[in-house]
Amino acid sequence: MKTLASYIAINRFGLGPRPGEADKVEKDPKKWIKEQIQRSPRIPAGLLRYKSSEDIVRLSGTARAEKKQNKTARQKIDKLKSSLRENAVQETFARTEHMIATDTPFVERMVMFWSNHFTVSGAGKGNIFFVAPAYEREAIRPHIFGKFEDLLLAVVRHPAMLTYLDNHKSVGPHSRMGIRRSFVTGVKTGLNENLAREILELHTLGVNGGYTQTDVIEFAKAITGWSHGAIRQNRDYRPMHGRFEFKKHFHEPDSKKVLGKKYREKGVKTGEAILKDLARHPSTARFIATKLARHFIADDPPETAVNRLAGVFTKTGGDLADVSKALIELDEVWNQSHPKIKTHYELMISAFRASGKSGFKLKDFSVPLQAFAQVPFQAPSPAGWPDTAADWIAPESLLRRVEWLRQFAATLPAGWNPQKFLDDVIGPVATDETRTWVSRAPSTDAALALILSSPEFQRR
């Protein structure tokens, strides 16, 4: 790697260099990134052999409904659950393998960015893990360079999100189900606000985007009934399925007022109309622009860059291909060498990419990721993984990173020339100190470990 621009393109936009990648990037780094922007990205073939969420949701719904009266029945359910878990583990593994091997790493970085923006997590909710990799493949991947509105709708209609944030069972107090329930149980409120609140706070407007508790409740009412087909109440004998299902008998009737606008009651269309308005709201443009700028420029992104991105977002109606291209053209991106810290997962991916290795085993990934406490699809909250330096470099987390890198370096070919490796992975930004101490290292693997542990490699 020879130029600073190629280091930035490969690390900040890509996932770290694979052997030989720099040669392709060096001629025109911006072009290399832009050529990866395709309105309908191909879904990696390696991921297509895993179960669809339709199957997963239906099967896990069936397992839940199954009577567990005897040992054989229980064993059958346990077996089904462990096969669903195994399917998700294998797809997560395949996703990671793909990120290591891919020659379109900007696509993968954007998949991670949006998958994190619209987090679903198995942390504390095991069943969500079963469907999380399929959710990313079905709801996120196809839309990362499409319209934000389509991405938002795909996410909110997906059974994984509806379940993760509890909307699948949210019941309007004046819906048929709500009235019946209040008669039987005495529970007067059936609403579950969780998804509506997080859409406003985390997915669209942002916490200071100008909504109130009343907006949360009205919006929650509007999306009552947004559920899936693997929930069947008593005396509902329709066969289960794992797709989106609008349950009219859960839906709160009458018009709703969100952010000062009145929405006449039109069933599922009310929620859709609100989501479309949210997708085009100026606060959303700003919120998304800020997050993108934070990810690609600096923890505290410059105002000018945020304004520019928000402007493009608004002007193009939330066209994420155009926003991504605008991002690449920002001067602020290119005038700092490595302001950002790789997450633990990115660090692991980039180390494997730099090694040129292939043919991985499950434990190659699970050992470091568990040590780092960053297992994919297990983010600690709906806000996803954080994106600032202090969240990734603390004394203990830095030690775990380096301990693993040290161990990993020992698995690299002993015949490698550390000097060449240094030039290949961090050449344009390597400090004199790093070069000196690498050259003085007592062994090849210690030298390689120092390169991988250097700030120049752990940053991007």
């Binding site: 579950n192 400090t431 120092l450």
Partner: protein, 382 residues
């Protein structure tokens, strides 16, 4: 920090005092023996399922399916969740105090803002980039080295100018001294990496017994055990923070809380045993970013609320009681007609522990720890 150490070493005042007034006073100059452990429950603890107003008709009406039916009674109105058997015993031994209907000044319902507010101490979300407990350490003899962060990340509440000790468990092989030495050269010009590495070298080594039990025990229990091992020694850290995740019970609340509250009960028990002689000087405080709605929702869960619950356990606690005010659960008593009103201030509880227990100067607390917060410390907790 360096300045203070030089001052202490260079000043003859300590010796003179010893000579004049005997060893007792000079000993007071040494870092405190008081211990403060904070457990932060992230996601919003349902206080009403933890300290249960079991005799309140409104409670039973608002929670037809979720009301805790068989609490461990603390008199005629409140009871503890049945999983909290150890805490119930502590209550009987006057080593547990409960503060219901409590919250920081935050009145919205975002987890992330509420946690940030709870930890930064500046009176608004993102009002400060450091944490109030870190600023409090600056007012304690010994400073940051008395602080301990348990877990891979330092939570915001402990981030800041004072450099605290950190500990997290690891299965990876340790680095050699030689490699660490080269690494510190490579990191010399990058302040973020240089500082983290320096602090990592000072990390305590509790030498936990590894009896294959790790996987069975919860993270919280493992971290509590480690904290006790690290703290219950002479010159050990004195202020620790431990995180616990998963408290956002929008659905299936009773099942999930049973497991989570059991973890709390086990962890407090582990700390009580592990702190040994230090238990008498210990305050464990358990807090969450907000409470949950009084009424249950459709999914046997509850949504984000306001007034929550703070638990304080330890030999130094004036326990055996429920402290603060109780606003009641009647429709008119609720905040925005849905949440338990936060009539007690969490900042007042924090101040009380810092001033009365940890001996932090009032003016340091007022000027630096909770600047702009006028609430008086809650009295009589420790």
């Amino acid at each position: 920090m360096l300045d203070r150490r030089i001052f202490l070493q260079g000043s003859g005042a300590g010796l003179l005092t010893t000579a004049a007034f005997g060893p007792g006073l000079a000993f007071a100059k040494a870092p405190t023996d008081k211990i403060f452990i904070m457990i932060i429950l992230r996601g919003g603890l349902d206080g009403l399922s933890t300290l249960v107003p079991y005799a309140d008709r409104d409670y039973l009406n608002q929670r037809p399916r979720l009301a805790i039916k068989n609490p461990l009674k603390l008199g005629g109105y409140f009871g503890l969740h049945p999983e909290l058997r150890g805490l119930h015993k502590l209550y009987q031994d006057n080593e547990l105090v409960l503060i219901p209907a409590v919250s920081t000044g935050y009145r919205q319902r975002s987890h992330f803002d509420a946690q940030n507010y709870l930890e930064n101490g500046a009176g608004k979300p993102f009002g400060s980039s450091d944490g109030w407990l870190n600023r409090a350490l600056a007012g304690i003899e010994g400073g940051g080295q008395l602080g301990l962060s348990v877990g891979p990340q330092i939570p915001l509440i402990l981030q800041g100018g004072e450099r605290v000790k950190t500990w997290a468990e690891s299965d990876l092989p340790e680095l050699s001294d030689g490699f660490m030495a080269s690494l510190s050269k490579v990191y010399a010009e990058d302040p973020l990496f240089a500082r983290a590495l320096q602090d990592a070298k000072l990390a305590p080594d509790p030498m936990l017994p590894n009896m294959g039990r790790r996987r069975r025990n919860s993270n919280l229990l493992r971290n509590a055990n480690a904290a006790a091992r690290i703290m219950a020694v002479k010159d050990g850290p004195r202020i620790a923070v431990i995180d616990s995740l998963g408290w956002d019970t929008h659905n299936n609340q009773n099942n999930r809380l049973s497991g989570l509250l059991r973890q709390i009960d086990e962890s407090v028990a582990a700390l009580r045993i592990g702190m040994r002689d230090y238990w008498k000087d210990t305050v464990i405080m358990i807090v969450s970013e907000f409470g949950r709605t009084v009424a249950e929702n459709a999914n046997q869960g509850t949504d984000h609320g306001t007034g929550g619950l703070c638990l304080m356990a330890g030999g130094a606690v004036r326990g055996g009681r429920v402290a603060g005010d109780w606003p009641g659960l009647g429709k008119k008593a609720l905040h925005e007609r849905r949440d338990l009103k936060a009539v007690n201030s969490l900042e007042a509880v924090f101040k009380s522990v810092l001033i009365s227990h940890m001996g932090v100067n009032d003016s340091h607390v007022a000027d630096h720890v909770f600047p702009g917060n006028k609430t008086a410390p809650m009295s009589g907790l420790v």
